[in-house]
Amino acid sequence: MARIIVVTSGKGGVGKTTTSAAIAMGLAKAGHKTAVIDFDVGLRNLDLILGCERRVVYDFINVINGEASLNQALIRDKNCNLLYILPASQTRDKDALTEEGVGRVLDELSKDFAYIVCDSPAGIEKGANLALYFADDAFVVTNPEVSSVRDSDRMLGILSSKSRRAERNEDPIKEYLLLTRYDADRVKSGEMLSLEDVQEILSLELLGIIPESKSVLSASNAGIPVILDEKSEAGQAYADVVARYLGEKRPHRFIDAKHGFLRRLFGGRK
């Protein structure tokens, strides 16, 4: 039986797809057969971030509609043979995503995979609701700003009331906080919320803080999940997240502003 993880946020553009690609790769690198599914029908970009966009033949909706088998649609990652991607459809409309269909695909994947990572679209509409419906664990991706925190809180309400676990009266979805695009300098200057501010409102188990980092953009341009960039802070932070999720104790990093030479010269905001 696979463990189903939803990467969700409510608010758009906070780093869900970046996170989905990174943690799916991290889990696969740790030796767990992992599938990552793009639920963002019409706006697919998980395949871009994983660099497999030119190998997409069939997609998630084809599988739901019985037009392709899972094996035909799953794309094996070029960097790790335990990682598979199920891309979203760029062309079909969202109505094709049904609870019954998604459930069927997840059931079939569960037989063969250890982890299934569901990259949720933004918003609280059907796609987002279906991405979380079958989840066992939720990574709530939040940026240190008021609107993102508020939307995450809203999402947490939906996680606790509209999931299959909630409907069946089972143990609730395990919820984790991932604070991303965290800029320690801007937190220090009061432009962004601090970890404490965010936790005061959300009070969730913190899985990690992902610093704002240029390496994220270069990694996604190169089609390689940032977790494979071991020199980058964002890459290291995602590696910590995966390790913590798998039960390892690691101290949190990247919380405080550091004042390196280059930072003082060029980046010294306030």
């Binding site: 037009e67 019954e100 508020r150 809203r154 309400g157 606790s160 009331s161």
Partner: protein
């Protein structure tokens, strides 16, 4: 497409709706009382489905025109979705109006509090035990308190027909309502409305008051009016001559 999906599917599920128990056939009194209750919690009642319970009324042999009550309820914004305890004539009228007839289960409340608790955290589903008593108050059966241990997040809504006890935080953008008292043993950032059916003796107790709005029996204060001195301290809130008093619990 190779496989055409089926045109439809049946699933069994439960649909929660408040029950309106009528104790009089006086349309004016009914409308007036309903309007007062709606004014206390307009959001809660807007477009609410409703089951009309005529058992008590028929015990009193008060005849009521079902078409008329349906029209009245629709006019003020309810969606009658069922009738129970109607007499032959009323059931016939319901059938003509395409309103389903429920056979009354005699034992206890149609909606029990235990059943309600799980569902109440769902924003779209609300459960209320509604009773209307414009003339003679019926014998009140005591209602158990509702206990909530999970955080109430933004967009969620809790309604309790008795007291409401919450052990976890209530987020900004969440709304908690009780016909009785409200206890929040944590931070209250959302809206809290106690005594929503007009119980002026209801109180709100909370460990850390940062609420967007507090109200007892319809008298309210917004965060703007909340005294900075009591902000973030354990307090109790009660009504004195239509004024909300916020007092620190020493």
């Amino acid at each position: 497409m190779l496989n055409t999906p089926p045109a439809l599917e049946f699933k069994s599920s439960t649909f929660f709706a408040p029950i309106l128990i009528l104790y009089t056939h006086d349309m004016v009194a009914i409308e007036q009382t309903l309007q007062e209750k709606i004014n206390l919690a307009p959001e809660f009642f807007r477009d609410s489905p409703l089951i009309i319970d005529l058992r008590e009324l028929n015990k009193l042999n008060q005849d009521l025109d079902f078409v008329q009550i349906t029209q009245l309820l629709r006019r003020i914004g309810f969606f009658p979705v069922g009738i129970r305890g109607g007499n032959e004539q009323q059931n016939k009228q319901a059938r003509t109006l395409s309103i389903p007839i429920d056979t009354v289960r005699e034992q206890g409340n149609p909606i029990t509090i235990g059943e309600a608790q799980k569902q109440e955290a769902v924003p779209e589903v609300t459960v209320a035990k509604e009773s209307i008593s414009p003339i003679a108050a019926p014998p009140q059966t005591p209602v158990a308190a509702t206990l909530i241990t999970q955080p109430i997040r933004s967009g969620q809504r809790i309604y309790a027909s008795g007291d409401l006890i919450i052990l976890s935080q209530v987020s900004a953008g969440a709304e908690i309502m009780a016909e009785g008292n409200i206890h929040v043993y944590n931070t209250l950032r959302g809206r809290a409305l106690a005594g929503v059916h007009g119980n002026t003796a209801a109180r709100i107790f909370c460990f850390d008051l940062q609420a967007e709005l507090i109200s007892i029996a319809g008298d309210y204060k917004t965060s703007e009016d909340l005294n900075k001195q009591t902000y973030k301290n354990p307090v109790q809130i009660y009504l004195q001559n239509h004024a909300l008093i916020i007092k620190e619990i020493a």
